[in-house]
Every structure is written in structure tokens, then in C-alpha cells.
């Protein structure tokens, strides 16, 4: 036991190998087999979620867990580079304050409660339907209006094109919502 422990002690190893105690002879097993944490990970090619430059990102993940996110060297725009925000994309998705459950605040309540996702979806659909029911205008003086101004939407510049498309399609094309806006008024 002691002998085994001693053999791991770098000083002993270095006496054995005759090195100066700062090279391979002083390296622990861990050091000698160091490997990057992304080894063996799957890679998804992604785009940075922050500004509009559009830097390429490589998303490394193992067993459905993020391992690391770094710049994609192939990107002709970013050439692998990222700013501090882009460099922090892994933490953006893994930090402890990340929401993972639906939080609901009832009228006049002083606290949140967690509710199941499906229940929240049903409740939201009910609210939309009810509000639309009593705010929808079909016609004015015989001319088509087909809108509700009782429901509004804000957001889109941080979302995908497909997401924006579905927001606009359901909210405007389906429900007749006109009050739709996002950061992009430039």
C-alpha cells in the first residue's frame, strides 16, 4: 500500500527515472491522459443567440447534456471567433437560474406557483379564446375589419424566422391580432 502510494509520488518517480522532476516523470496519470471534455461529444452546428453578426457556433453535447459551445472555425463571417457574450453561450443554457417549469401567478396573489405545462397551455388557449370573443370586430359599416385589439404580442428579434412566421400566421392570419411588434423597428 505504502509502496504503491510512494511510487505515485513524483519525487520517487523522478528519482527512479532520473529526470529533473518537471517533465513526464512528474506527471500524474491524469496529466498524462489529459483530454478535452469535448472528446467523444456530438456536435450540432448552430448560430450565436446574441447580436446580429451571426457567428457560427459548435454545440458539443453528450448524453443529451451540453458539454461546451465554441466558435465554428468554418464560418466565413466569424472564422471561429466569439465575443464575451458568445463565449458565454454554454453558461446561458446551464446556469442555475434557468427556468425549467411553468410559473403561474393568480390574480391578486403574492406568490408564484408551479403548474404543469399542458395545463398552462390549456389555460392560455382559454384566455385567448375568451378575450377574442368579446373584443373581435367582424365588420364596420359593411366593410371588413376582422380584428381584435384586445390581445397584443411583443417580441421576435431574438427568435427564429420559423417562429416569427408561426406567430404572425396564427396571431394575425388566424386570430386577427393587429397589435404585434418587436425590437425590429429600425
Amino acid at each position: 500500500m505504502l509502496r504503491e502510494l510512494l511510487s505515485r509520488w513524483p519525487v520517487v518517480r523522478q528519482i527512479k527515472t532520473g529526470g529533473n522532476g518537471t517533465g513526464p516523470e512528474a506527471m500524474s496519470q491524469r496529466t498524462r491522459t489529459l483530454k478535452p471534455k469535448i472528446e467523444g461529444a456530438k456536435v450540432a452546428r448552430s448560430v450565436c443567440p446574441y447580436c446580429g453578426v451571426g457567428c457560427g457556433q459548435l454545440v458539443f453535447h453528450k448524453n443529451n447534456k451540453l458539454v461546451s459551445i465554441e466558435g465554428d472555425p468554418e464560418s466565413p463571417i466569424s472564422r471561429g471567433r466569439l465575443c464575451p457574450k458568445g463565449s458565454d453561450t454554454f453558461q446561458l443554457h446551464t446556469h442555475p437560474a434557468r427556468l425549467t417549469k411553468v410559473k403561474y401567478r393568480a390574480p391578486y396573489s403574492r406568490s408564484w406557483q408551479e403548474i404543469p405545462l399542458e395545463q398552462a397551455m390549456d389555460m392560455i388557449a382559454d384566455r385567448v379564446w375568451d378575450t377574442r370573443e368579446h373584443t373581435f370586430i367582424e365588420k364596420d359599416d359593411g366593410a371588413s375589419v376582422m380584428h381584435t385589439l384586445g390581445i397584443a404580442h411583443l417580441g421576435g428579434a431574438t427568435l427564429d424566422v420559423e417562429e416569427n412566421y408561426l406567430i404572425r400566421k396564427l396571431f394575425t392570419g388566424g386570430l386577427g391580432m393587429n397589435c404585434i411588434s418587436n425590437q425590429a423597428r429600425i
Binding site: 502510494l5 505515485r8 509520488w9 513524483p10 519525487v11 518517480r13 523522478q14 522532476g21 518537471t22 517533465g23 513526464p24 512528474a26 506527471m27 500524474s28 491524469r30 496529466t31 489529459l34 483530454k35 478535452p36 471534455k37 472528446e39 461546451s68 459551445i69 465554441e70 466558435g71 472555425p73 471561429g80 471567433r81 466569439l82 465575443c83 464575451p84 457574450k85 458568445g86 463565449s87 458565454d88 454554454f90 453558461q91
Partner: protein, 267 residues
């Protein structure tokens, strides 16, 4: 991605004339190495709130604001203010004080030249801390061990470049074969000087006992404004009787060191 070139020495060239002070290097380093934050204190030192390289900041961008002569810059077409930035890091010295001082063999020289603190061997004696001529290594009092830049040795072992150099948006931090980086730096220096930037210098203390650094710098003006000492020395040069007397001291410590090693929970 850059490949480490067999056993050839690798290095960092930090060209501060290209640095925009974005701190991507600090964040990329912390992300890759899973290092905690330094605290949330506003320093008032320009835009620098991490202040120095330490156990939880392995890359640090120094901000140097040079005031202009009053009355100029704003409304008179005279001198520009200047705002200099430079990303500091462990120098991975040719003769490394930390490595010489480490009594447990926790600090090793990797094949590609990195000076690497083995976290599974370090026992936190902190001899390295006082022996670093640049004030880079620092003990994490909470954890008990000493930490500094690993030169992303884990990445380099797989042929990947270090996280900071990989992220750097303007390639102020360049990684590669040390000799090639020196050639690049010399060429860049020439270009800068020929375009009238006379105060550009290369910082690489080859003429001191440090005998050169693997993470060297190209910057403007006095290196001291970026916390780079003009004549860094390895503390062992002050040991008059050299290694023999050091060995005596080491012998005296043998028992304690061995105990420390055997008792090290991070083994």
C-alpha cells in the same frame, strides 16, 4: 484549428495593438475551464472589474486610459485620447519560478512547453505563488490549491488551440508554434514602426533569468503600464549556494511534503 506541432514548443503572441478590450478571452477561458467568477464588485478602474490575473481569472484584460492634455481632443483637432487594452496571462516561462519552487512535483512542463499545475498533485503549499516573477499563480483559499492558466493543456493534447486564442475576435491573441510566432511578431513590429507607430515593442524578457516566455507580447509604450515588469527574475537566482543548499532545505521538508502528498484529498 491550429495543430500543436509534435513536441515543438507552442506559444501565445498577445498583440495588444489589435486588442479591442472585449474580454472574450476571459470568458472563453472561464467557460472552458469551468472557473468561478471573481465577485461582483465595481472597481472604477476604467472598464476593468476583474483587475488582475489570479486563481479564478487566468486571462485578464488590462485597461489603460491615457488622459489627453486638457482642452484637446474634444473641440480642438489635436491629440486623441488613447485607451489601451492588453490581455495578460501566465507567461509559461522558459525558466519558471513556480516550477522550480514546487516541492511536490505538482508543477510540470508539458511536451509543448506549457507550465502546468497538476490539480491532482498540488497540495496548496503556495511556494509557487511567491516564486512567480509575474504574480500569476494564486492560491484559492477556499479550495486550498494553487491555480493558473493551464495553457489549455487538455485542448493542446488533442491538437486544439487554447480557448482564449480560439475566441479572440481580432486575433490579438495568437496561438501557434513559438518560433513562427516570433517571426510573425518581428514582422508585425516592423510594419507598425514603418507606419509611424514608434513606441511598439515586443515584450519577451530573454535577457533575464526567466530566459524568455512562451506567452509573449507586442504592445505600445512602457510594458509596466500593463503590469509587465521590465526585468523579471526567477527567485532561485537569489539562492547564493545554488541547488545544493536548496536540496538541504528540501530534505528538511521531505517528511512534511510527503505527508502532505499522501494526505492530499485531490490525489
Amino acid at each position: 484549428m491550429n495543430q500543436t506541432n509534435g513536441h515543438a514548443n507552442t506559444g501565445f503572441l498577445t498583440d495588444s495593438t489589435l486588442c479591442i478590450g472585449c474580454k472574450a478571452c476571459e470568458v472563453a477561458c472561464k467557460e472552458w475551464n469551468d472557473i468561478s467568477e471573481d465577485g461582483y464588485d465595481w472597481s472604477g478602474f476604467s472598464y476593468d472589474n476583474t483587475e488582475a490575473v489570479g486563481h479564478s481569472t487566468w486571462r485578464h484584460v488590462k485597461f489603460v486610459e491615457n488622459p489627453t492634455t486638457p482642452g484637446l481632443g474634444g473641440n480642438a483637432a489635436g491629440q486623441l485620447p488613447s485607451w489601451g487594452f492588453s490581455s495578460d496571462v501566465c507567461k509559461h516561462c522558459e525558466v519558471a519560478g513556480c516550477l522550480e519552487a514546487c516541492p511536490t512535483g505538482a508543477i510540470v512542463r508539458m511536451d509543448f512547453g506549457a507550465v502546468f499545475v497538476q490539480p491532482d498533485v498540488c497540495n496548496g503549499c503556495a511556494y509557487c505563488v511567491v516564486s512567480c516573477p509575474f504574480g500569476v499563480v494564486q492560491k484559492n483559499e477556499h479550495d486550498g490549491r494553487a491555480f493558473k492558466c493551464t495553457f489549455c493543456s487538455d485542448r493542446q493534447m488533442a491538437g486544439l488551440e487554447p480557448a482564449c486564442a480560439h475566441a479572440c475576435p481580432t486575433k490579438s491573441i495568437q496561438f501557434g508554434n513559438l518560433e513562427e510566432l516570433h517571426a510573425k511578431a518581428d514582422q508585425r513590429l516592423e510594419e507598425l514602426r514603418s507606419s509611424g507607430i514608434d513606441d511598439a515593442v515586443i515584450y519577451d524578457p530573454v535577457d533575464t533569468s526567466v530566459k524568455g516566455i512562451h506567452a509573449f507580447f507586442l504592445l505600445r509604450g512602457d510594458p509596466r503600464s500593463y503590469n509587465l515588469p521590465p526585468e523579471p527574475e526567477v527567485p532561485t537566482i537569489y539562492l547564493k549556494k545554488g541547488w545544493r543548499s536548496a536540496a538541504v532545505a528540501a530534505g528538511a521538508m521531505l517528511g512534511a511534503t510527503m505527508l502532505a502528498f499522501l494526505g492530499d484529498k485531490h490525489r
